[in-house]
């Protein structure tokens, strides 16, 4: 049981250009040591020598140590580590499930980061690739896996180069007992979904599969079970194994221990990736990124997440606390909507983008998402007729839960939250009075700046 319950609100920042360095509060070297970005912040280097000087070698098992996998699994369970890829699923449970399956296992490092508003995995792999690889080797050893596959989107060249360098540095040392490969699936939004990733590794189209029974592990070929973990999750696992489960509880809150990487973007001056202790309030996190003006709302979790109003900014950033107010931690994304922007218009842009990212396999998604997007676009333009609001609501209900994967569910959640958070705006738009801000350039990174 974790004993530390204080939330740390002061996260120190290091800027890439040192002349404007601010420290919001000095952390003890010990405190900032066992963090994801601490080594890079302290030493400014991502190579193997720096990594070893800062963290030491990962506690990989000695040959023939048969009790090690069980002990590693127990340590992960004691830490309370949950996935940082979006679902917040307990990592120890996932490990147990795949360990109990027969066959030669594969460990997949999911660094696809299909979420446009997220840059955390890209940053993590650029400044601390060895932490991720440590975690991958540890998890692979616990599984008895025969290989590690790092999946990076085919258009993420910098990330792939950084990981390639790190893998090359480990070659010939005893830090890579399980061989590491790099795979480059196409960088579509749903390609990072677990079953889509495994489908691509199996030579298939890289589209999500239908999994009515999620307790059966995914396999490569007919018999090799696969454990897929987000890159950040594995980095945390490496820290837990190196410093102990208690170190993980040193930050965060009772039901959400540890730190987490959050990408803050939108109406802020200092957008970027921040490592924050779980439980930090949204207000503080957004504060670090210096909003350009008054914050109207925040899109939490990602494009398939949910909007939160300014009134919810004092919510602690943690899966359960966020869920209570209708937010979601998701892929560690916070997009700040300033007052001079139109929430409905931004929602329309996101919905249109997500519609285009459908894998195209399930009718309700292929046809429903564009229909939803068109409805929200009409609302943004102030063109909705009286029956349309009801039609929009029924369409949301018709699309929800009827795809093979959770992609359409993310969109419905996001649109629903928008209709609730921007209710006043929606009413004005529907009455034929769209706000002027709808024509402003987007604060989101959808690549589409038309209104």
């Amino acid at each position: 049981m974790p004993t530390a319950t204080t939330t740390s609100t002061a996260a120190t920042r290091a800027t890439a250009n040192t002349d404007t360095a601010h420290d919001a509060g000095t952390k003890s070297a010990e405190r900032g040591h066992a963090t994801l970005l601490g080594a890079w912040r302290a030493r400014g280097n991502a190579d193997l020598a720096t990594h070893l000087a800062h963290h030491g070698p990962p506690p990989l098992p000695r040959r023939g140590d048969v009790t090690w996998p069980e002990r590693f699994a127990a340590t992960i369970e004691a830490s309370g580590l949950t996935g940082r890829g979006g679902a917040s699923f307990p990592s120890a449970t996932k490990l147990k499930l795949v360990r109990s399956a027969r066959g030669h296992a594969t460990l997949v490092v999911n660094a696809m980061e299909g979420e446009p508003a997220s840059a955390k995995d890209k940053v993590l792999l650029s400044v601390a690739p060895h932490l991720v690889l440590d975690g991958a080797e540890l998890a692979a050893s616990a599984l008895g896996a025969i290989r590690v596959v790092v999946c990076i989107a085919d258009d993420a060249h910098e990330t792939a180069a950084a990981v390639g360098r790190a893998v090359a540095e480990r070659a010939g040392t005893d830090l890579a007992p399980v061989p590491i490969e790099i795979a480059r699936p196409p960088g579509r939004y749903v390609a990072g979904e677990e079953s889509a990733l495994v489908s691509w590794l199996n030579g298939g189209p890289g589209a999500p599969g239908w999994r009515p029974d999620k307790t059966k592990p995914l396999t490569i070929g007919r018999r090799g079970p696969v454990l897929v973990h987000n890159a950040e999750t594995l980095a945390h696992a490496a820290l837990v194994a190196t410093y102990g489960a208690e170190s993980f509880w040193a930050a965060g809150v009772v039901d959400a221990p540890g730190t987490s990487l959050v990408t803050v973007s939108g109406g802020v001056e200092r957008g970027g990736v921040y490592e924050i202790p779980m439980g930090t309030t949204l207000r503080d996190i957004v504060g670090f990124a210096r909003p350009t003006g008054e914050v109207a709302a925040v899109l939490t979790g990602g494009f398939g997440g949910s909007w939160l109003p300014a009134g919810a900014l004092d919510t602690p950033y943690a899966p359960r606390a966020m869920a209570v107010v209708g937010g979601v931690t998701g892929a560690g994304v916070l997009v700040v909507l300033p007052r001079q922007a139109c929430g409905i218009a931004e929602t329309a842009r996101v919905a249109r983008y997500m519609a285009g990212e459908s894998a195209g396999q399930c009718g309700p998604c292929v046809f429903g998402l564009p229909a939803l997007a068109a409805d929200v676009e009409a609302l943004a333009a102030g063109k909705l007729d009286p029956g349309a609001r009801a039609r929009l609501e029924s369409r949301i209900a018709a699309v929800e839960g009827r795809g093979a994967c959770r992609h359409p569910d993310g969109v419905t959640r996001m649109v629903r939250s928008a209709l609730s958070v921007f209710a006043a705006d929606a009413a004005a738009h529907a009455a034929g009075h769209p706000c002027a801000f709808a024509l402003e350039p987007s604060v989101l990174a959808t690549g589409t700046n038309r209104s």
């Binding site: 599969g209 239908w210 009515p212 396999q361 399930c362 009718g363 309700p364 998604c365 046809f367 429903g368 369409r395 018709a398 009827r402 795809g403 093979a404």
Partner: protein, 74 residues
């Protein structure tokens, strides 16, 4: 030994489904079609009197997307 009751639930594989609509034709009591022709099912157990029709719907689906799942009631 207490007799175990099995209840049957309809599951649609959304990837295989191509909106032929035979399931809704055969079983309108349990299956309706959305505005794009795809089946909407609610996941409640199939009443015994409709089991035969449900089996027929599963057999007739051209893409084998309409599936019946049997679970023992506790």
């Amino acid at each position: 030994m207490t007799p175990q009751r099995v209840h049957t639930v309809i599951k649609v594989n959304p990837i295989s489904c191509e909106a032929y609509g035979y399931c809704a034709e055969l079983l309108p009591e349990l299956v309706s079609l959305d505005e794009w022709g795809y089946p909407v099912v609610d996941g409640t157990p199939v009443p015994p009197r409709l089991l035969e029709l449900a089996r027929r719907a599963a057999k007739e689906c051209p893409r084998r997307a309409f599936l019946l799942e049997h679970a023992a009631e506790r």
